[in-house]
């Protein structure tokens, strides 16, 4: 009998260990696969802004987008990852209540030298740090890409890369530390809840782009002497629309990466998934709500625009407007919010244009305005819901006031560095291309290749 018990105990231990290995491998694979999915976002932005460029600038737009990705990864490795773990409680670098933040903690896990380097490279005992870093680095690349499309056809390449680094490896990371971390002060003090990063990625990027656009100025020929705007059509609408669809595909990976899987030492729960705040979530919730939001955004945009560019932008606006609460919205509710975002998107873009802002792809509106709209809508819809995991009465709850404060902070975290750094670059002559280069075309000025060496045929005239 004792022998049988010992044998069963040994078998149980073996099974438990085996299940643990399977869970760890699953967790590692889960986040690893979000990385190529998020690279599809970047492919989408690449196609989107190349299509939105005129033929004379198409490759230049592509070069800057590719370089943004390339510089985002190492700079996020050098300091972005450290900022995320160091700053949740504010600029004091002090440790937060969850014990996973502060300068000391960040320096022990997120530096490429000293003892911390063991978590910043191959480590047989650490199957989490690399995939988490990868997912966050791709969040950073996505954020920088959002700004990229707005400034096409007149921004200098290196000036743009510097701005992309400030946005992707600093500005949004501070927003994430404050509002997307269990120790983040916006979360612990104001109950800010932004599951899918409507504010801390999209609004930060959108308002960063606005700050840049003010200093950059419009493309030559965009506005007439009386202030009225001309439409500058991109050279390839199908490429732009396909790019937008690729962004939608990639966002399934982006939002999947916002889920904390169960069963690991760093998980919130042993038996269920959680948001980054430790509140419960399932991938099924995402499936229901993202799909309904995409549909709602497209339909809302179609009503007034009938334009495939704005319809696909509406799909993106649908996701962004619901991103803060994809974990708790009812699908039909997500549809309604997304539908409203699809409707207001184009008037918001037109309003901005009437104020002399030349946003070539509508990024300020789709990501910035709709991002803030999404953060605030969650405050309207979900007041009283726990914003963070914890015992009743001890955790902050979602409130409209808290979401408005969060939205304001996210907007400022984008706009202020975007305006400030682009102002400095402007003074240094590194922001805008000279008029002669803009008129001749940026490809012929500085790209040693041709986008369409055999030309492209003219398409049919548009409908009235």
């Amino acid at each position: 009998m004792e022998e049988q018990i010992a044998e069963l105990t040994a078998q149980l231990a073996e099974l438990t260990a085996s299940a643990g290995v399977t869970n760890t491998m699953f967790a590692e694979t889960f986040y690893y696969l979000t990385i190529p999915l998020m690279i599809i976002i970047h492919a989408g932005f690449l196609a989107y802004e190349m299509g939105a460029s005129r033929t004379k600038n198409v490759l230049s737009s592509g070069v800057k987008n590719i370089l943004a990705f390339a510089f985002m990864i190492p700079t996020f490795y050098f300091f972005g990852w450290w900022i995320y773990w160091a700053l949740p409680t504010g600029i004091t670098l002090s440790a937060g209540p969850a014990g996973i933040s502060g300068g000391e903690y960040a320096s022990s896990i997120a530096l490429g030298w000293g003892d911390a380097a063991q978590y910043m490279g191959p480590n047989i005992a650490d199957q989490a740090s690399g995939v988490f870093f990868g997912a966050f680095a791709l969040f950073a690349a996505t954020t920088a890409s959002i700004m990229s499309g707005a400034v096409i056809e007149r921004i200098q390449t290196v000036g743009f890369i510097i701005l992309a680094i400030v946005l992707g490896s600093f500005a949004w990371v501070v927003a994430a530390a404050w509002g997307w971390h269990a120790d983040g002060w916006l979360v612990t003090k104001f109950g800010v809840h932004d599951f899918g990063a409507a504010g801390l990625v999209h609004a930060v990027a959108g308002f960063f782009a606005l700050g840049v656009l003010i200093n950059l100025g419009p493309r030559i020929g965009k506005f007439n002497a009386d202030g009225s705007a001309n439409h500058i059509a991109g050279h390839n609408m199908p490429l732009t629309i396909t790019g937008l669809m690729l962004i939608i595909v990639g966002f399934f990976g982006f939002l999947m990466a916002c889920v904390i899987v169960p069963g690991e030492a760093w998980s919130w729960f042993g038996d269920k998934g959680a948001t980054i705040y430790g509140t419960p979530i399932t991938l099924s919730a995402l499936s229901f709500n993202i799909l309904m939001a995409v549909a709602g955004g497209i339909i809302g945009a179609w009503i007034f625009t009938k334009d495939p560019f704005w319809m696909m932008s509406g799909a993106l606006a649908g996701i962004i407007s619901t991103a803060s609460g994809l974990d708790i919205y009812f699908p039909a509710q997500a549809f309604v919010i997304a539908f409203s975002a699809g409707i207001i998107m184009k008037p918001c873009a037109d309003w901005l244009e009437r104020r002399g802002i030349d946003d070539a792809v509508g990024a300020v509106t789709v990501h910035g305005t709709i991002g803030l709209y999404g953060v605030i809508m969650l405050g309207v819809m979900a007041s009283g819901f726990p914003a963070l995991q914890g015992a009743a009465g001890e955790v902050p709850v979602i409130t409209l006031t808290g979401q408005i404060i969060g939205a304001a902070v996210f907007g400022l975290l984008g706009f202020v560095p975007g305006y400030g750094v682009s102002f400095i670059l402007k003074k240094m002559g590194m922001l805008r291309t000279p008029a002669a280069a803009e008129i001749a075309g940026l490809d012929t000025t500085k790209v040693p290749a041709q986008g369409y060496p055999e030309g492209i045929p003219v398409s049919a005239a548009p409908a009235e």
């Binding site: 510089f71 190492p74 700079t75 050098f78 490429g112 030298w113 000293g114 380097a117 063991q118 910043m120 490279g121 191959p122 480590n123 047989i124 005992a125 650490d126 200098q156 390449t157 290196v158 000036g159 890369i161 510097i162 002559g429 590194m430 291309t433 000279p434 002669a436 280069a437 001749a440 000025t445 500085k446």
Partner: protein, 57 residues
Amino acid sequence: MGFPFETASWDVVDGAMFIGWGTVMPGVYTLIAAVICVYTLWAGNRAEQKHYKRVEK
């Protein structure tokens, strides 16, 4: 930079397993990589400004 353990076997490795672990080399490589990025931006900007000047002439 040899294998940083007495026995040349992966069986003795239970943590970091990259070249240079436990030495200053990860920091040195990090610094070199950072310098490459900064230099590329500096050189890239110089080249870009030359292109613009050529077009303006």
